[in-house]
């Protein structure tokens, strides 16, 4: 009967989109491996069929290869761009922007989210501001970004930062609020200092809830960087696409898009991997 009463800070709820994470399915033994092999096979068949169809239709002339170059042509131009280095230079520029913008957003968003999750007063002060800014799409910030920072890295950092900020903030905020109050109490009665409570309880307890948002934010950041580069930069994959379009090198446009897709996929897969490890302890503890 008293447990409700012991949750002063964390429970007096505002209208947050409370997202309870479903426990991640655990990869298990041989059955799981067999299933994953089957999944991979089906995935490959799906993608392979699409590529074959695409290649066949362009070769047969059913698709105008100027409007949509064939997969082989795209692969060819990827190879060319990787040989002359332009692919790598632009990829590196984009990656750097995502990383810097994302880390800045982590520093601000996670910190703010943690503080708001902890203190009702701060949450009530900060949340309306966040809610007011959140619906503005990063694209709408481009003119302001160019005005403030000019064309180049700073504008891109800023746009990535904006795109990542909100999911990171809400990830941390929701996570802290959904931590079991008893675990905090347990740490306190064991004599934990504020720092130990934060580093050894709050952070690890909130990670499993935060991880999907960390991943989501990275995906958004990647989209934002391309957006920024289409308009406000002179390097990067977005810039490569824009430049190729002006030169009517449509196969390079598509090659750039493919590169964006592949890198985005790899980043998401990497984070998912970390996520699974972080969640290893979680399933039965929050059943």
């Amino acid at each position: 009967m008293t447990t409700q009463a012991v949750r002063p800070v964390l429970d007096a709820a505002g209208a947050v989109p409370e997202q309870k994470q479903a426990p991640a399915p655990r990869a298990n033994s041989t059955g799981g491996r067999w299933r994953s092999r089957r999944t991979v096979a089906l995935n490959v068949i799906g993608i392979g069929t699409m590529l074959l169809l695409w290649q066949g239709l362009t070769a047969a002339g059913a698709i105008n290869s100027f409007l949509l170059p064939s997969p082989v042509a795209v692969l060819d131009s990827l190879w060319e761009m990787s040989k002359d280095g332009s692919l790598w230079v632009n990829l590196a520029a984009s990656l750097k922007r995502v990383c810097v913008g994302y880390l800045m957003a982590c520093a601000v968003g996670l910190t703010l989210g943690f503080i708001c999750g902890w203190s009702q007063v701060v949450a009530e002060l900060v949340r309306p501001i966040i809610e007011a800014l959140r619906p503005i799409p990063p694209l709408a910030w481009v003119p302001i970004a160019i005005l403030w920072f000019g064309l180049g890295d700073m504008s891109a950092y800023f746009l990535v930062f904006l795109g990542c900020l909100f999911p990171l903030f809400f990830g941390a905020y929701t996570a802290v609020r959904s931590i079991d109050r008893n675990q905090i109490n347990a740490a306190l009665c064991l004599g934990a200092s504020r720092w130990l409570l934060f580093s050894s309880v709050l952070v690890p307890a909130s990670l499993p809830i935060m991880m999907p948002n960390l991943r989501l934010a990275l995906g958004i950041g990647w989209m934002c960087v391309v957006t920024a580069e289409l308009i406000a930069a002179q390097t990067g994959l977005g810039y490569l696409i824009q430049q190729s379009r002006m030169l009517f090198q449509i196969q390079n446009v598509v090659a750039g898009m493919v590169a964006i897709g592949v890198v985005g996929f790899l980043m998401s897969a990497a984070v998912e991997r970390i996520e699974r490890r972080v969640n290893a302890w979680a399933p039965s503890e929050r059943n």
């Binding site: 008293t2 009463a5 079991d180 004599g191 050894s200 307890a205 290893a280």
Partner: protein, 263 residues
């Protein structure tokens, strides 16, 4: 027991939730209780009698609306490591192994790494969890989790052990086994224990004094002093004093349990 110094002095303690508002709830009214050093107190009563609230006040998680809770002559003002808590839902840190869970309070006390590993291993052995040091909480049974939680609470060597229905979530057999272990551990360590439960036999089996509480408003209704020696063993459950006390308490508490059931 009565000769030793007063360890905890609860005087005129009331706790009102939402005081002054229309829906205010009086969880505790004017509770008075003196607890001696090394005493094992069971707080017994139906839900809503304020026993968990009283424990939470003792832990320092909440503050009393009026009255005072004094430990060693000083008022309890917040949680600290001299009073550790064992929770009904274990509240183990799921991302830490049992070993690291038990080490947590020692880490907070800044005990050197090797020493705290040793102490934690020793406590895990005392609750019969040797060999499970490197397991994560979700990999072991409920009974083992609670054993680990007891080890975690005892490792930093608190003066007082507060147990909030620690066996409430366990099956009957595990509960009986753990009751005996808790009795052994507490009489070995000589710590003051305050044990919240709604199990009559559990309270009578474990406690020096059973503090029976009543709901609406939560208050102390009677105190039963045990005649059983320590440590308590399984055969004491057949002791005539034990059986008659349990059935007497059952008779007095029955109306309230029935009332609770109707609500």
């Amino acid at each position: 027991m009565t000769s030793s110094a007063c360890h905890i002095d609860i005087s005129h303690v009331s706790k009102i939730f939402g005081a002054g508002e229309p829906g205010e709830v009086v969880a505790l009214r004017d509770v008075d209780l003196k607890i001696a050093r090394g005493e094992f107190i069971a707080l017994l009563g139906p839900s809503g009698c304020g026993k968990s609230t009283l424990l939470s006040l003792l832990a320092g998680f909440q503050t009393a609306t009026s009255g005072a809770l004094i430990q060693n002559g000083r008022e309890i003002s917040g949680p600290d490591a001299s009073r550790t808590v064992v929770f009904q839902d274990y509240a183990l840190f799921g991302w830490l192994t049992l070993q690291k869970n038990v080490e947590f309070g020692l880490k907070a006390k800044k005990v050197p790494k090797r020493e705290r590993a040793e102490i934690a291993r020793d406590f895990l052995a005392r609750v019969q969890l040797s060999g499970f040091e490197d397991k994560l909480p979700h990999e072991v049974s409920g009974g083992m989790k609670q054993r680990a939680a007891i080890a975690r609470a005892m490792a930093p060597d608190p003066e007082i052990l507060l147990m909030d229905e620690p066996l409430g979530a366990l099956d009957a057999q595990t509960r009986v086994l753990l009751q005996e272990e808790i009795s052994r551990l507490s009489s070995e360590s000589g710590k003051t224990v305050i044990f919240v439960t709604h199990g009559i036999d559990e309270a009578v089996f474990l406690a020096d004094r059973v503090v029976v509480m009543s709901p609406r408003p939560g208050r102390i209704r009677e105190i039963v002093t045990s005649r059983l020696p320590f440590p308590r063993t399984a055969e004491m459950r057949a002791d005539p004093w034990f059986t008659s006390t349990v059935s007497n308490l059952w008779e007095t508490l029955k109306p309230e349990w029935q009332k609770e059931d109707e609500q």
